[in-house]
Each structure stands twice: as structure tokens, then as C-alpha cells.
Amino acid sequence: MVEFLEFTLQGISAGMIYAAIALSLVLIWRGTRVLNYSQGALAMLTSFIALEIEYRTGNYWFAFVGALISGLIIGGAVERLVTRQVINKPPLNAVIVTIGLLIGIEGLAGVFFGGNNRSFPTPFSPVGLSIGSVALGITRNDIFIAGAVLLAAGLLAVVFQYTSIGLRLRATAFNLPVARLLGVRVGGMLTLGWALAGLLGALAGMLVSPSTLLSPNSMDTIFVLGFTAAVIGGLESPGGAVVGGLILGIVLSYAGGYLGSEVVNLFGLAALLLVLMLRPTGLFSSAPARRV
């Protein structure tokens, strides 16, 4: 029973990271109809930037803020400089370009930081918490992970729902030509959407890197699981992305806990295939209307 609770709590903590990646994918998908395969690679790059800042200043929080800001800048820059060029082209071009970004950024990180695994700092103690004498199997850091993602998701929800800029972002995502006719600066909104997604990705990178170690390829698996979470949620709904991340995190945590850690990724593949077979456009999306 204690074991079950332990796996559940660990699953929630891991699921929050998948949720952050999923949320960033949904943000970009809703705005630009591009699925950003380089999201994981961008998070890896910002984590390396954070590691450099931490190394120079010795302060985790400077590094944390630095990663978020660089995520914001790099995300916006990628939209402006690269993906905007393919938005009028067939969707396959965008897929290939973002895969090019993925591999290009990984190569860049390899050139500058080398291919070795680097250990990554945590802000809080990674020692397990306990109530009385019962160990919970989670740490302060796990709580920090869950809290940080929830806070970020909550802030985004508030911005989207209650601010003028959120309204413009939603209008652009909902119907770009109409939003433009109504006077929204659509281009800026698209860039802002990518920048916010870059920030979320950077957050996920900061949170996951202590446990995966940091290397140019370290975010590949995390990205794929984040993508799975987004698909479970249906790619359209931010709430679905968070729920999808949590479901995936908990399921994988049980699989890893009871069946052994090497099956986790196979379970992820099975989960993705299962969801796609049952509901090809995700569990939470409304019926898709194919354009004829």
C-alpha cells in the first residue's frame, strides 16, 4: 500500500514534467498548426545555458530565471526566423523543418558542450520525505516540480482568460484571418505563443534534467512522452494536456515500479499506440472535421 502511494506520488511528479512539455506543444499547435518537434531540444539547450550560469554564479535561482528567459527568447526567435517561412507551405514542410531544428540544436549543443552526461543541480534536497516513520517516497524537489508546473499552468490560464493579450492570443489561435481583420497584430501573437511555449519547455528542462542528467540527447525520450501526453489530451486543449501528462506519468510510474524500469519506454509507446488506435485525435478532442 505504501509502495502504491509512493509510485502514485512519483508518477504525479514525473507527469507534471510531461504536462509542461505537452502544454507547450498545445500552445504552439493551437496558434500556428505546427507541431514543434524541436521543443525537447530547445529545453535541452536552455538547460545547458542554465548550467553555464550556475557554474559562473553558483546560484541556482539565477540559472533558473536565465533558463526561462532564454527559453522565451529562443522560442520567439525560432518562430520569427524559421517556422514563419513554412507556415504557408504544405504541413509536411513544417514537420521536416522542426525535425531539422531538433537535430541541428542537438548538434550545436554537442559542438559547444560535448556529448557527455552532465549532472544537474536541484534547488531542494533530494532526500525522501516521510510522515512520522512512514517514508512517502517523494522529495521536496518532487513537490517543487509539481508546484512549479501547476503555478506556470495556472498563470498561463489566467493570462489567457482574463487579460487583453490573452484574448488576442486566443483570437489568433481561433481564427487568424478574422483576428487580423479585427486589428490584432497576428504576427506578434504567433511569436508570443512560441515564446511562451519556449518558456514552458525551459521550465520542463530545468525540472527534469536533475533526474535524467543532461546531454544533447537527454530530452528525446522526455519530449516523446510529452508528445504522448499532448496526444492523450488531444493537442487542442491545454487542460487535456495537463490531465494527459498526469495520466501518463502515473501509468508509467506503476509500470516502472512493478515491472522494472526498462519497460517504461515500451509502455509509453504502447500507451501512445493505444490512444491513437482508439481515438486517432486524442481522448479529449471533439470530433475532427476533415476539410474536403
Binding site: 525535425i99 541541428g104 481564427n175 528525446d220 519506454n265 509509453g268 499506440l273
Partner: protein, 374 residues
């Protein structure tokens, strides 16, 4: 009147020409025979390192050809074809280790095994569109290497399995193994290419293009869209599987570190660089893919960069190539060549793949385009 060897040759060529010209299939066979002659001569005249590179290009070209047909003709995408290469390679190594089958049987059966796995995945894939499909295949590429560690008793874990091709006795004891590998790979690649070239020009190839350009119109014309998409996936997986076996021939082992995500992306890079949908493009792309990274790494190492840094430079180059080609020359090398010699491309659209509108539920870009037209 004595005729010189020249005249005999010209006479033979003149008599052959109508036979060759009559059907597409014969033209492909003739091209392949010419290719075999050139490759055989090159292999004998050049040094052993070129043999090694030829074998590598052949392995890559087969896998890339399968992928370029899938993306360029059927309009689907796979970022996970490295996983099908792994299936082919591992099946070949298992057959080699436990059953000691002859090489030709190993090649055929491992290709069929990869096709079978592709069929299972293709059934799922035919229901998926655009980003969902790309993501699912990406998952395949990331997750499949974990099979090797999960079933390490059978598949040898991180060490992998050995796969050695021995030179047959009739060629003599002094025949170089590298040259034999090059011959095996180039021969298998040429046969595979002829079959695929014929398929692409057949009713099936036309159906693929119809499905790619407009699924609804293709269905109205009586094409079974799902069946065509699954078939494309199976063919692509089979070619990836054969490519995997040929790669195993070159490397001598199969291991998880051989079939990584970056291998899958290399295939994509070669297909995009050569020109999506073009088989000759697949060959051009593979040649560049084999030669340029070695060159880049050598240049970087000779400029005093460390091993780790120089091995990342080709990866960076793949990324840049994918982005730049897609932005600037979406039809790749093959598109450039056919524009140079004034040949009509296989498809009329300017982009590598015509827009499958069904990918997007509501595309701002397409909306704008349509508004502009009316």
C-alpha cells in the same frame, strides 16, 4: 568487310535500343545493368576504402528509397524508419547465428520480417494524419532500442549480435572481404531499386500520388485510400529492413547504438536532400550522406577540435540541411537536376508534396490562400 569492335558495340546498342525503349520496366533493368557494370569496375579499380563506402551508400540508398516513396508519393511521414532497419538487422543476425542460412535467404526473410512489422504499424498509421503520424513513428524510433535491453538474452543487450558475411569459395582465397561486401550490397540495392522504380511507375504508384494529392478525390475515383497508405508503409518498412541488413553487412554487428533516432533522421535528411519522391534523389542523398560527414569530421579534427566536438558537427549539418533545403529548395537535388535538363518532374506541384488539406482542421494559411484565389 571487317567490322571494328566499335562498330560491333554500336550495332549491338542499336539493336538493343528499341527493346530498352519499349517499356519502363526494361529501361529500369537496363539502367541497373549499366549501374552494376560501372559499380563492378569501380570496385575493382578503386581502393578498398571506396568498396567500404560503396557498401555503405548502397545500404543507405535502399532505406532512403523506401522513405522517399513513403513521404514523397504516398504523403505519409515516418521519423522511425531506423526502427524498421533494426528489425531487419536483428532478424538477419538471429538467422545467421542460430540457423546459418545462406545470405540470399537471410536477405529475403529479414526484409519480409520488417515488412510484417511495418504492416502492423501501418494499420495504425493509416488512421493517423500529419503530426500524429510523425509523433507515433518518432516514438517507435525512441522506444525500439529498449527492446534490445529488455530481451538482452536473445538480442545481446547493448553489445548486440555479430553478423559476418564470408567471401564464397569460388572467388578465391585472396578476394577482399570488403569488395565482396560492396558487391553484395550494391547487387541487392540495384535489384531493390529496379523493383521499386517499376512499382512507382505502376498503377500502385499512380494511386499513391492520387491519395497524396487529394484523399477524397482518390476515394471517389475508386482507390482504397487506407489500403494504399498501409501498402506504402509496408513497402517503406521492407526497404528499411533490407537497408538494415545491408548496414549490418557493412558494420559486422547489430546493436542498439547502430539504430538510433539520429539514424532515422539521417534517412530523412538524405531523402529531403535528394528530393522527396525521387529514387535517383535517394541515391544522391545517400552518397552525400556517406561522404560529407566523414569529410566534415576529418576537417574538424584536423583543425584541432576534440573527437566529441567533431562528431557533433555532421549532426549540426544534418539539421541545417533539413531546414535550408526545406526553406530554399523544397524539391532537393533531383528537382534541381530535372530543372537543369528540362525534364518534367513526376508531380506537377511546386512543393515536394502537394498539400494534403485534410491534415489541418482549420489552417490559417490555407484559408488565406483560398481567400486570395476567389
Amino acid at each position: 568487310m571487317n567490322s571494328s569492335p566499335d562498330q560491333i558495340f554500336i550495332g549491338a546498342a542499336n539493336r538493343l535500343a528499341p527493346w530498352v525503349r519499349r517499356t519502363t520496366g526494361r529501361r529500369h533493368v537496363a539502367l541497373a545493368v549499366a549501374g552494376a557494370v560501372v559499380l563492378g569496375l569501380a570496385s575493382i579499380l578503386l581502393d578498398q576504402y571506396r568498396d567500404y563506402q560503396m557498401a555503405e551508400v548502397a545500404a543507405s540508398a535502399v532505406a532512403v528509397a523506401g522513405l522517399t516513396v513513403l513521404i514523397g508519393l504516398s504523403g505519409q511521414i515516418s521519423i522511425g524508419n531506423g526502427a524498421f532497419m533494426a528489425v531487419g538487422g536483428y532478424v538477419a543476425a538471429l538467422l545467421f547465428m542460430h540457423l546459418q542460412w545462406p545470405l540470399i535467404a537471410i536477405l529475403v526473410v529479414s526484409t519480409l520480417a520488417a515488412a510484417a512489422v511495418g504492416a502492423i504499424f501501418g494499420v495504425a498509421a493509416a488512421r493517423l494524419r500529419g503530426p500524429y503520424l510523425a509523433g507515433a513513428t518518432l516514438m517507435l524510433a525512441v522506444a525500439l532500442p529498449f527492446f534490445a535491453t529488455r530481451f538482452s538474452g536473445l538480442l545481446g543487450g547493448d553489445q548486440g549480435l555479430g553478423f559476418f558475411v564470408t567471401v564464397p569459395g569460388f572467388l578465391g582465397a585472396t578476394f577482399s572481404p570488403l569488395r565482396w561486401q560492396a558487391w553484395v550490397n550494391c547487387g541487392a540495392a540495384l535489384v531493390a531499386m529496379v523493383l521499386l522504380a517499376n512499382l512507382v511507375r505502376s498503377r500502385i504508384g499512380r494511386s499513391w500520388r492520387a491519395v497524396r494529392d487529394d484523399e477524397v478525390a482518390a476515394a471517389l475515383a475508386g482507390i482504397n485510400v487506407a489500403r494504399m497508405q498501409i501498402l506504402a508503409f509496408i513497402i517503406s518498412a521492407a526497404y528499411a529492413g533490407l537497408g538494415g541488413v545491408l548496414l549490418a553487412v557493412v558494420v559486422g554487428t547489430v546493436s542498439p547504438s547502430l539504430f538510433t533516432l539520429s539514424l532515422s533522421i539521417q534517412l530523412l535528411t538524405a531523402a529531403v536532400l535528394g528530393g522527396l519522391g525521387s529514387l535517383s534523389g535517394a541515391i544522391w542523398g545517400s552518397i552525400l550522406l556517406v561522404i560529407v560527414p566523414t569529410y566534415l569530421t576529418n576537417v574538424a579534427t584536423s583543425h584541432g577540435l576534440t573527437q566529441a566536438t567533431s562528431s557533433s558537427i555532421p549532426i549540426l549539418a544534418y539539421g541545417l540541411v533539413l531546414i535550408l533545403v526545406m526553406l530554399a529548395f523544397p524539391r532537393g537535388i533531383a528537382g534541381g537536376i530535372s530543372r537543369l535538363i528540362g525534364q518534367a518532374p513526376l508531380s506537377d506541384s511546386e512543393s515536394p508534396t502537394a498539400p494534403p488539406t485534410s491534415w489541418r482542421r482549420r489552417s490559417p494559411a490555407a484559408d488565406r490562400k483560398e481567400k486570395g484565389r476567389t
